[in-house]
Symmetry: C2
Subunit: 218 residues, 2 copies
């Protein structure tokens, strides 16, 4: 059965999306046979998909025992945010000269919409699109994929944090988004990088105020 070439990649992509969309939670067990059946495939490509997601940090495999959706301690999440703080301004600088008028306009739109967004899921999508857009379409670079992985690994905890309160409540976030777009419009890479660094840093500190997000359930 199965179409052409790449069941493993397809399963990995689906499982990755499912985890990022919150259909799984950290600590949830991932059973090979169940996944295989769900995709109409055997366990062989499922195992390959799990190895891929393991290397991305989304899944944790224990030999002869099983696979679980990765859980982060507060310290690990903090580390990931510190990495983002160092790396994302670097990526942004690469893309400042490449930003066109249409992209800048969409960034404006997204910033405006987020400022009054109530729904967590929509906010998550918009925020992610906002930053991804600012990093350009250059998905090929090793830097871009590293940043994407940092976002993926912390996605669940961002969602859990946002659920604690109204996403539009924190005015600082929206102010920073505005400042960022403005710097980008002027093509000021230094200032844009600085604002972004502050933005990520503040997010990290806000997250640190809510250790209950990292409480081990089940």
């Amino acid at each position: 059965m199965s179409g052409h070439g790449g069941a493993a990649a397809r399963i990995a992509a689906d499982l990755r999306d499912a985890i990022l969309h919150g259909e799984y939670e950290p600590g949830d067990r991932v059973r090979q046979e169940q996944l295989a059946e769900h995709h109409g495939a055997s366990r062989v490509p499922v195992r390959e998909a799990l190895r891929m997601l393991e290397a991305e940090g989304l899944v944790t495999l224990v030999a002869n025992t099983g696979a679980w959706v990765s859980r982060l301690s507060q310290e690990e999440c903090d580390e990931l945010y510190r990495m983002r703080e160092q790396i994302e301004p670097l990526l942004l600088r690469y893309n400042v000269p490449l930003l066109g008028a249409e992209v800048l306009d969409e960034l404006d739109e997204l910033a405006t919409r987020m400022a009054s967004e109530q729904e967590v899921e929509q906010f998550l999508r918009d925020d992610r699109r906002f930053h991804a857009l600012s990093y350009g379409a250059a998905r090929t670079s090793v830097l871009g994929s590293t940043v994407e992985q940092l976002w993926n690994r912390t996605q669940h905890y961002r969602r859990a944090f946002l659920r604690l309160s109204d996403p539009s409540a924190d005015r600082g976030i929206h102010l920073e988004h505005r400042l960022l777009v403005e710097s980008l419009r002027r093509g000021d890479a230094d200032e844009a990088g600085a604002v972004l660094g502050i933005h990520v840093r503040r997010t990290r500190l806000e997250l640190a105020k809510h250790p209950e997000v990292f409480a081990a359930a089940r």
Copy 2:
């Protein structure tokens, strides 16, 4: 056949070491059956190992076609070094308070030995051990494993660069190592981080002077 649980992990570790030791070069093809036979296993765990190394950036897989040892363009290598420049000082800061007298002494030893080392392979080992040691034994942190992957992906090009000239020729490297150890001895995290950043940056610039290292052979 095969012992207990973990042929895939063992094969991945072996292949990773082989690539890092230079037994393979970027662009070399990796055949599944050949690897399987070499390890007395079937192709199933081999494929899992390849997926793992693919996610680490050491191997490039093309569907229905094959696997090759990853090759970096000069631009990609430059990106990886810029990431190192941002991230490694961060990791170092984590470990400054944890450094004991024995470790500092070994760092001194390594710095001394490297300053007069002629052999490329020995220099590579010592340099890597020097920095890994300064980052402490904390292999568990997500930051530590990220840094390790950055080193792994650029290892081949470091070797190729060193082969162009006497490793002990560049006095700047050894001076920076000395300065680093001295800062660490004083427990001055800020200065140590700054020196390390400069160290990585200078290495990147030196590497940029030798584009022939990235010339696509075969």
